[in-house]
């Protein structure tokens, strides 16, 4: 039977068929749906971990215990999990261990554009890269086989266009993979210097065997065609290149680390001009150059952003490739002048609780260190209330850094904003630093009771687990108090005046303080607003535009200010800021 699956769903299906028993992950676009779909299988224990480091350590533990285990994350999550990654390469595994990492070329939903293949090389871990959903499933299963055959973790590298595209997948049965015996082996699993030195040698030998595997494995394949042009590519880049020049010869790589030296050399010998086409960094290209081969790569193709069929076809044309073999149908495209079309960046939703927070922060004209989540959108106009956004947790620690660089006076005009899930992920350690090192930062935890941007995943403070079952609920107030913050208060960000007063009091305090701005995400099913939409009394409205400053998508201004009742969530924030009381709830409008 065939099913139409997202790449991410196919990885989940592959894990199921491979007999995986334990999966741990932290959500992050474009990887989130892998774990969400794994959680649908009752045979697999699945959890959301507080962060990727924990997730990978859980998976490592499960693998040492003899189960096939998997950890899933986005590319920046692998930075967080890098510590266990490098040493799990030394210990090797018992049951198979696969780390799925999804890169985001073009930064559709990320703060940077990093290339996870380098982690494989740096940690001496093999990396597989699929180019469609069927391969995503097949490579997941294969990754577990490689993991167990070579006693190594394996990285499965996904990318946005593979994770979030659907294609047909042949569905198979779950294989009956037994829990392997667990035997204590400190030489293998206790990485102290003496043991780690021995394991380091094993790791070097293992890499040689993996390289040999890469030479022979079916997942690296040559497709000879017109030999005047030879292209080495993997993943999404292979698809684009195939569309641009279907008649070329291809070396299609499914294993991108270790790379197959002999296979590449023999392919290079057979073709006249050799190209490497890859997204992000020059990972394959650099290797091909070390082999002394003449190759064209990023001096021709762009170094930034996503590749596309159009880019590849036009660049190959520029490089003098015969037009006969190129598919140049894009040249028929009459690109319209879209300058006149308004830009449409993402925006905080109608009813979003963060809007109240940013309205106040803007009004007080504070310096705001920000963090990763929906609330990063508060940086954009009209709210424009964020100064920095670096990585998960950095709001808290960098506010502390600002204070230590510029003094306490500066801290009196600074707040850190961080989401609830992000705070648990890695904000808490920053807060401990503030308390320990005599900081006086004010941290606002935007507690909307969910992991919002990635599509509403549960986390330790929501009271539910990944399958929606009641779970032990982390108490954030007590957590903050426990690390030594004496000023912890909970406020509703929609009670604007009260909230503003709270912020003013806490930034004035000469000690660390935490304001938990608590109001659930407006999109959460269990709290969906039943409030009637609001409307504008155009007779009393003076068109001052204060409501527009909230940046609510439901408020429009076509000669007169009005509220789109199908978009309005009934939160009433606009009514609160209206100086003439011209905005009222729908049932008393007309």
């Amino acid at each position: 039977m065939k099913k139409l699956l997202l790449g991410n769903e196919a990885v989940a299906q592959g894990a199921y068929e491979a007999g995986v028993r334990v999966v741990s992950a932290y959500p992050g676009t474009p990887s989130t749906e892998i774990t969400e779909n794994v959680a649908r299988f009752d045979e697999i224990y699945t959890e959301w971990a507080p962060n990727e480091k924990v997730a990978l350590e859980v998976a490592v533990g499960a693998a040492i215990a003899g189960a096939r285990a998997m950890a899933c994350m986005k590319h920046v999550g692998l930075n967080v999990a890098a510590d266990p990654l490098f040493t799990s390469s030394y210990t090797g595994i018992n049951g198979g261990l696969v780390i799925v990492v999804a890169d985001d070329p073009g930064m559709h939903s990320s703060q940077n554009e990093q290339d996870s293949r380098y982690y494989g090389r740096a940690a001496h871990i093999p990396v597989l890269e699929p180019s469609d959903s069927q391969e995503a499933k097949d490579f997941t299963k294969l990754a577990f086989e490689i993991s167990e055959k070579y006693d190594t973790p394996v990285i499965l590298r996904m990318a946005t266009r593979i994770s979030h595209s659907r294609s047909l997948v042949e569905i198979g049965q779950r294989s009956d993979v037994h829990l392997k015996d667990y035997t204590k082996d400190i030489g293998k699993y206790v990485m102290m210097p003496a043991m780690a030195r021995r394991r380091r040698n094993i790791l070097v030998e293992r890499e040689k065997s993996l390289k040999q595997y890469s030479e022979e494995a079916e997942l690296n394949r040559i497709e000879y065609n017109d030999r005047s042009i030879g292209i080495i590519a993997a993943g999404g880049a292979y698809n684009y290149a195939k569309e641009a020049v279907p008649g070329a010869s291809f070396l299609k790589l499914g294993m991108v680390y270790p790379l197959p030296e002999k296979l590449i050399k023999s392919f290079a010998r057979e073709v006249e001009r050799l190209f490497v086409i890859e997204e992000l960094e020059t990972f394959i290209e650099d290797y091909v150059r070390t082999l002394g081969l003449d190759v064209i790569g990023k001096e021709l193709f762009p170094k930034t952003g996503e590749l596309s069929y159009e880019v590849i076809a036009s660049k190959l044309k520029e490089a003098g490739i015969n037009k006969e073999v190129l598919n140049l149908s894009f040249e028929n495209c009459k690109a319209p002048n879209v300058n006149e079309i308004p830009l449409r960046p993402p925006a905080l939703c109608p009813g979003c609780p963060h809007r109240g927070v940013y309205y106040v922060l803007k009004k007080l004209n504070l310096t705001v260190t920000g963090d990763i989540g929906c609330y990063t959108l508060g940086a954009l106009p009209p709210l424009s209330s964020m100064d920095t956004c670096i990585c998960m947790g950095a709001s808290v620690s960098s506010a502390h850094g600002l204070e230590k660089a510029r003094g306490k006076e500066f801290a009196r005009k600074t707040v850190a904003v961080i989401g609830d899930s992000t705070f648990i992920h890695s904000g808490i350690t920053g807060l401990i630093d503030v308390v320990y090192n005599n900081g006086t930062s004010t941290v606002i935890i935007l507690d909307n009771s969910t992991t919002g941007m990635t599509g509403h995943q549960e986390h330790p403070a929501t009271g539910y687990d990944i399958k929606g079952r009641p779970a032990n609920k982390l108490n954030m107030e007590k957590l903050c108090e426990a690390v030594g913050v004496k000023r912890v208060r909970v406020e509703d960000p929609f009670e604007i005046k009260k909230f503003q007063k709270a912020v003013q009091e806490e930034i004035s305090a000469d000690e660390p303080s935490v304001i938990i701005a608590r109001r659930p995400c407006a999109l959460l099913k269990r709290v969906k607003s039943k409030n009637k939409p609001y409307c504008v009394n155009t007779e009393t409205c003076i068109e001052c535009g204060l409501c527009l400053e909230l940046g609510c998508p439901a408020i429009t201004n076509r000669s007169l200010i009005s509220i789109d009742e199908t978009m309005c969530n009934g939160c009433g924030l606009c009514a609160d800021v209206c100086p003439t009381n011209s905005i009222t709830r729908g049932d008393i409008c007309d």
């Binding site: 040249e331 308004p342 201004n557």
Partner: protein, 209 residues
């Protein structure tokens, strides 16, 4: 759009995050699959879904390579929002079919008057382009059907009136398989209102004004 021995139908779906673009692409793809076609899609998840521009691609045919439709080659542009229609034009082949909703979702900065959103200019521009344009107010028809959120079904209904490699009504069947029963009536109604618009029941003037 289909012919010459090889089958190829590339559909670009444009809209605004939250309008149901991803679901619409899934319905089309699933229907094509049920009819034995190869199919690939590409979807927008994550940050852009928060009210930003979103695009889905659905490729139906044989020998599909990538999930992304090359510029200038899409057979149909299905657009859920007026301005997003123009953003999608670069994907469309010469003479391609546009099915667009005339309903607007005004971006925050345009509402504040910091960027322009002139629907009259956009409408005039679209009508001048060398494409086969069907314009419907999907928002209005969805309200008629019972709920504004059924606008995506209105547009699928308009699509169902086109020549497709499967019976148009199968789109509705697939949708009903994916939607909870309590939403079936509104969505079916919206689909047929769209289909009537696509077949020109309201007259071309009504459908394109």
């Amino acid at each position: 759009m289909l012919g010459g021995g090889t089958i190829k139908l590339d559909i670009v779906i444009n809209g605004v995050g939250g309008q149901g673009v991803v679901l619409a692409s899934r319905i089309i793809a699933q229907t094509a699959m049920k009819n034995g076609w190869q199919v690939r899609t590409s979807e927008t998840h994550g940050m852009a879904q928060r009210g930003g521009s979103v695009t889905s691609h659905v490729r139906i045919g044989e020998n599909l390579f990538g999930a992304l439709i090359p510029n200038g080659t899409a057979d149909i542009l299905l657009s859920f929002e007026l301005a997003e229609t123009v953003r999608g034009l670069e994907k469309l082949k010469a003479g391609g079919k546009i099915i667009a909703s005339s309903a607007r979702v005004v971006p925050v900065l345009a509402a504040m008057g910091k960027t322009r959103y002139s629907d009259q200019e956009i409408l005039q521009y679209l009508k001048k382009q060398p494409y086969d344009l069907t314009l419907v107010d999907a928002h209005d028809l969805a309200l008629k059907a019972g709920h504004h959120k059924a606008a995506n079904m209105v547009l699928l209904g308009v699509l169902a009136a086109q020549k497709l490699p499967f019976a148009g009504d199968e789109l509705l069947n697939t949708a009903l398989e994916l939607l909870p029963p309590k939403l079936h009536e509104v969505n079916a109604k919206a689909f047929y209102l769209g289909k009537q618009a696509g077949e020109g029941y309201y007259g071309n003037a009504a459908a394109t004004s």
